[in-house]
């Protein structure tokens, strides 16, 4: 630094080199970020543009898929995706809430908690195909439910639990400690403090997290191909016989979802209008997930406002 030139008021060669290096580095970093954003926009844009024609075609959205000829729709798949999502949330939400409360409120440290944390972390890192295969062993074959909505929902539950537990845990931990202290100092139990004070206060973050996780569940396919199956029997919404395979609400019928549909028609490759159908299905899937994202933020903010202001 203290070279001759700098003392003369000029800038040394070293400094010049360093400064140039710094500029180049910043340029490269900026280029990388731009490249990522371009890739993101390109992927989403490609999906939406190439599938837009089909995605806004009511016939495509409501009619049943075709296996060998063109013109099939995704009606049952669309219904199945939402039905599976709702069932999955119904099962996974109470379990995750309970587990998260145990980990944050009842036993923040100790051997039981360490084992549980390791188990949840393990579950979150397992490949979803492995979770699906386990679901096949237990629910499809073991319980004898076959390829069915209930098997799929339970497999998705295993996939979703680690995500939800983490979301709820973080939301509960973000509530100031003094809220819990206040409730305990009034002679309330930890359970009451959690259920009536902490959970309501954490609700904005919990709702946002749950809806975002719903997006992940909605697009999951690998855990479903061997649990909920790869076929979508035509649904008859007037049929309320819960044992009939065409009854939409029957949880023991096989149910292909949108994501599985994309995978299946592409790997079989026999539908003549394959490109159009898969692009349309992907566009519908993406639109739903984008909506989940927007909804998550709006809902979280709305609840936050109701809690604090008014």
């Amino acid at each position: 630094m203290a070279s001759e030139e700098s003392r003369d008021g000029g800038i040394s060669d070293v400094t010049k080199r360093l400064r140039a290096e710094d500029h180049v580095a910043t340029g490269v970093l900026t280029a990388i970020v731009v490249a990522i954003l371009v890739a993101l926009v390109a992927v989403i844009g490609y999906i939406l543009v190439s599938g837009a024609g089909k995605a806004f075609d009511l016939h495509f959205l409501t009619s049943k898929p075709e296996s060998f000829k063109a013109g099939g729709g995704i009606g049952p798949e669309l219904f199945n995706s939402f039905y599976l999502l709702v069932l999955t949330l119904l099962i996974s939400l109470p379990i995750s809430l309970g587990a998260a409360i145990f980990l944050t409120q009842y036993a923040p440290e100790g051997p039981v908690t360490n084992i549980a944390k390791t188990a949840i972390e393990t579950l979150s890192s397992l490949p979803s195909i492995v979770v699906g295969l386990f679901g096949m062993l237990i629910f499809v074959l073991g319980a004898g439910w076959g390829f069915s909505i209930i098997s799929g929902a339970l497999a998705l539950t295993m996939f979703n639990i680690p995500i939800l537990v983490r979301v709820i845990q973080q939301a509960l931990e973000a509530v100031p400690r003094d809220q819990r202290d206040a409730a305990l100092a009034l002679g309330l139990t930890r359970w009451e403090a959690t259920v009536h004070v902490l959970v309501p206060a954490a609700m904005p973050a919990i709702v946002t997290g749950v809806i975002l996780s719903a997006g992940r569940v909605f697009g999951e396919a690998a855990a479903l191909i061997y649990t909920a199956g790869q076929s979508a029997p035509a649904l008859d919404f007037t049929n309320l016989n819960l044992a009939s395979p065409s009854c939409p609400w029957n949880i023991f019928r096989p149910a292909e979802t949108l994501a599985v549909h994309i995978w299946k028609i592409n790997s079989e490759g026999v539908v003549p209008d394959l490109a159009a159908v898969s692009a349309g299905t992907a566009a519908v899937l993406m639109i739903c997930i984008l909506l989940f994202n927007v909804l998550a933020r709006i809902a979280g903010r709305a609840i936050e406002r109701r809690l604090t202001a008014e």
């Binding site: 630094m1 393990t122 995978w263």
Partner: protein
């Protein structure tokens, strides 16, 4: 837990004797509420733990059947280079070499990490060190969105863009390890980026101030001060990315070409553990030798995932020991 329950019994007696039962309202007593909460949440946690233990146990026990029940040697399974379970080899045993798939899985995993790491690292440096506001307001939500795109959609994009493009300049069908790695690189990019961003953001500002105070440029500071201290976190980010890449099934299966032979190049069809599982599991009846071997592949996949988790744990513990 037993001790706690005993305590609650005693509480019941103390409560009724202590301060005159007259004011005691007729509600569920506090200790029974507390016990109910503990039991409910404990059952939830127990359920999750039991499911995970069952998963590992059942997948492994089916995977081991190949070696115990069908008498196939572990060595032949792990080192055999021919996967053709319906044909018997010269030794009379079916040809169950899993090495092509194991190599394929590692090849796509490593290559996709190599491709995505510079992007992830560059982006996370940019959003922490260069443009933090942009990072929080624009980049992070975008990356979250990228995480939310389903893997089949990545597979579809790979099929309709990456495969065609690859075939255009590299010749051949375009299916292969290269296309698989590109798709996976895109998929793991958000995971690696957000974890690396957290790691870099966790470096205390005082480190940076020290470096700037000595007259270092931003780039020097990043290179010599920030990155070295964020290194454990960055390594963790990469391994989490590898975990995801190694376990991804459908997106890879759609673009890799599904030829179960030893990979000879990046641009010829190959297969991975997950792609063979995805394709094969539906075609074979339970209990056949072929089906058993598929479960052995699943077991290898499961054990590799556990190894990745273990590595992440060890890094975390080392970091904690260093800081604590």
């Amino acid at each position: 837990m037993n001790k706690e329950l005993d305590e609650r019994e005693e509480v019941a007696q103390a409560a009724s004797s202590a301060h005159g039962g007259g004011r005691q309202p007729r509600v569920r007593s506090k200790h029974s509420i507390e016990r109910g909460g503990l039991v409910f949440t404990g059952v939830c946690v127990g359920l999750v733990v039991i499911l995970v233990v069952m998963l590992i146990f059942m997948v492994c026990s089916r995977g081991i059947a190949t070696f115990v029940h069908d008498g196939i040697s572990l060595g032949a399974f792990l080192s055999g280079t021919t996967w053709n379970p319906h044909t018997n080899g010269p030794d009379g045993q079916p040809l169950m070499g899993a090495l092509p798939m194991i190599c394929g899985s590692f090849a796509v995993t490593l290559l996709s990490c190599v491709i995505s790491l510079p992007f992830a690292l560059g982006a996370s440096i940019f959003v922490v060190e260069v443009q933090p506001t942009f990072g929080q307001k624009v980049f992070r939500p975008m990356v979250e969105l990228l995480t939310g795109i389903p893997s089949v959609v990545y597979g579809l994009v790979g099929l309709s863009i990456v495969v065609k493009w690859t075939s255009g300049w590299a010749g051949g069908t375009g299916y292969g390890i290269f296309s698989g790695s590109i798709v996976l690189a895109l998929m793991i990019l958000p995971t690696v980026t957000s974890l690396a961003t957290d790691a870099i953001a966790a470096v205390p500002d005082s480190y940076r101030d020290g470096s700037y105070g000595l007259g270092c440029t931003r780039w020097q500071t990043i290179l010599h001060v920030v990155l070295p201290s964020a290194m454990p976190g960055i390594v963790t980010a990469v391994i989490m990315g590898m975990t995801r890449a190694f376990g991804e099934a459908l997106a890879v299966q759609m673009v890799i070409g599904n030829a179960a032979k030893m990979p000879t190049g990046l641009f010829t069809p190959a297969s991975t553990l997950t792609s063979v599982l995805t394709m094969g599991m539906g075609n074979e009846a339970m209990g056949t030798v072929f089906n058993d071997v598929l479960w052995s592949l699943a077991m290898v996949l499961l054990l590799m995932s556990l190894v990745f988790i273990l590595i992440v744990h060890l890094i975390g513990r080392k970091g904690a020991a260093k800081n604590g």
